[in-house]
Symmetry: C2
């Protein structure tokens, strides 16, 4: 774990604002390469290029009803008192083409979704007609005037040829897959998933299948981070834990920086007053971006660049590690993927219960959002300290509590960051 | 596509309410089998059993600060005017155990997260002390009284031994993986993913890699449904499209019902007035649950049971197919997974713009939710007809518009169903 008290002097940590820290990171994040994958495999991926409609949609005049394609002019003056009779000369199931040219006095039976004959300018609903037969010919009886255009979906109603179907940076979900399939786009250009190395450090850590030992804890942050990386669109690679050999530790982090797109460490490697992460970022080929943020939990979050690669050194405290990832590593991964807005959604909501803890740093409190009668209410978790792990699972928002000496009352408005659910 | 007009008479469709249709389905959905998988593979899966804490957490008294473990009694009467000096006799890094028993007048240097010696009853922050050396011995100077318990996280603060960590039916996300890892639970019991067959029907359908043809459309619903099945926790299996051979079609659906846990078809197989789905559910070994729902889009949604297996025959219209899945197939899959609440979240929100379309059936309008100043506003999509596909991708809610002859004004409250994002 990071040793805030110990390292303050040695590493001259100067706290920066969360937004400044984010702004320091972003210019170093470069858009990943494009790869083409099958549409069926593309769910959750990020589009690398704008996709343009290769044809209008619908690409033919489509009937939106089961009924009869007609020339609307034939129905002029028609009423209950003056019904007309039109001859059924063709039947057009879905997927078939009209086989007979309509002329005045004739209609085609047509199904929902089928192509309307070019000559027809309206479709009349099946239920509005009465069938009729005369000398082996089929007719319909009709008792009202029909306006042109009725029940016909025009070509290009949803999208014209050449229009953008989806913009690059868009995440592909259900609706996106549907529209891409509609246009026959079966190979999709997406940004390669950034490969993110996760290294946990700390001689107190046990593997999760090791028996419990007094004074030691299990390594849970790697599992947490791996899922966060996956949710952010990255590909997590859990590397071997590092305990307390400083030379090996340094070597491993540097190796990871050459092999992966991003490296995230959790916890400090501490032997007495030594913190390898803080130390590493003071080396001459490493650019330290920040090593302290005005933020609780997670103030001792470090970010550095080496040979264009980002290193995030997050706290070993689960709560702080979680928040540090969401505020800094997630948008960084998002930027590499080119997503339109790589930050989590933010909005204002009503505090459901009074929050009385005060702090000189901005606090990102884990909490729960509820919607009641159209109002968004947020409730801070009971245990929200940085070392607490249990409330992460019950939180769907981070409530942003500005630095203050006074409590914030229930009913006041606060800024909220929506966590992925 | 379903031919509502045509089939109303032949199949005697009688519309049921959405909630009644859901209630007809649920008793037929049976909890799937349990499988044990590695924790690292379990993200997004549903827990099959309650998980009990095998030990308290924390399982030792943990220091929440870098500082010194002390006997608080030693600090009685101490002040700026009367500082005391305590001898530092031990150093306890994270993961190590105390090696010297503290007695009055002695303290141990201790790191955040390390085990507090049994004799100590408080930890004093590093910054509150002054180091001092005398004849090769290390001391700290202290100028204030310390209360017992300070900066010590007690055993079991987050969870006591035997408490439920996570209830069965819980979906495993970031916070859940973290807590399971913390307790060393590296194999997790989850419900097997229901295997869901997806069959699209309709002679108008082209494969997505086939060139466009006049009057025909590409098969987009299978891609859409596959993603919906995946989001609902099922395993989608896309079977061969069925065009217009009725015998083969029937055979395929029946075979799928024996091989998969659930079968979803989209579109009707229509040859003239024939609808194989409507026809199939009238056979003697098939129990029809419903074949029409008071709902737009998607009124012609059919559900039936054969040998305990559910068949959902959804509309071929993309909008109707999408809604039919979310209202009926999603909760059915959720019930097989044992999820606590298999239905999508529902709440009330404020209509952002007037909705003037009227209908005798309840309308599930695709729409977009925004949060403005703590209020939830919802905006109906411009094109929300059942045959429209383009607006699915831009929707994050379904707005429930009750049957009415009048428009609903902006500012009125409406029921909203949150779509998975």
């Amino acid at each position: 774990m990071h040793h805030e008290g110990l390292t303050i002097d040695k590493f001259k940590r100067k706290a920066v604002l969360v937004s400044d820290a984010q702004n320091l990171i972003m210019p170093h994040m470069h858009l990943g390469d494009t790869e083409w994958i099958a549409l069926a495999e593309s769910g959750g991926r990020i589009l690398a290029e704008d996709v343009i409609a290769p044809h209008p949609y619908p690409h033919f005049r489509r009937s939106s009803m089961d009924g009869y394609a007609i020339l609307s002019n034939d129905t002029k003056g028609c009423s209950t008192d003056k019904p007309i009779y039109l001859e059924v000369v063709d039947e057009i199931p879905c997927g078939s083409l009209p086989s007979i040219k309509l002329v005045s006095g004739t209609v085609s039976r047509i199904m929902t979704g089928a192509k309307v004959p070019d000559e027809a300018d309206a479709v009349i609903m099946f239920e509005m007609t009465e069938p009729n037969e005369n000398r082996g010919r089929r007719y319909i009886q009709l008792k009202r005037e029909i306006k042109p255009g009725q029940n016909i979906t025009p070509v290009g109603q949803e999208l014209a040829e050449g229009e953008i179907i989806l913009n690059k940076g868009r995440k592909l979900g259900t609706g996106e897959l549907s529209v891409l399939a509609t246009f026959g786009i079966h190979k999709v250009p997406v940004i390669k998933k950034p490969r993110v190395a996760i290294i946990s450090t700390g001689s107190e850590l046990l593997g999760i299948d090791e028996p419990l030992q007094d004074g030691r804890i299990r390594n849970s942050n790697t599992f947490m981070l791996a899922n966060q990386v996956r949710e952010a669109g990255g590909e997590p690679h859990i590397l071997k834990m590092i305990s307390d050999d400083l030379t090996i530790a340094k070597q491993r982090v540097e190796e990871a920086l050459t092999l992966y797109d991003v490296v995230i460490t959790t916890g400090g490697v501490s032997v007495g007053d030594y913190d390898i992460m803080a130390d590493l970022v003071t080396e001459k080929d490493v650019e330290k971006l920040f090593n302290k943020v005005t933020l609780r939990p997670g103030s001792v979050t470090t970010a550095a660049v080496k040979n264009g690669k980002l290193l995030f050194a997050l706290s070993g405290n689960p709560g702080a590690c979680f928040v540090g990832f969401e505020l800094f590593a997630r948008p960084a991964i998002g930027r590499m993927l080119g997503v339109t807005n790589p930050f989590l959604p933010e909005y204002r909501a009503e505090l459901g219960t009074t929050y009385s803890k005060t702090n000189k740093f901005t606090r990102y409190v884990r909490g729960r959002q509820e919607i009641v009668d159209g109002r968004v209410l947020v409730y801070p978790a009971q245990l929200d300290e940085s070392n607490v792990m249990i409330t992460i699972k019950d939180s769907n928002v981070l409530i942003v509590i500005p630095p203050s000496n006074e409590s914030i009352e229930a009913g006041e408005m606060v800024k909220v960051i929506k966590l992925p659910s």
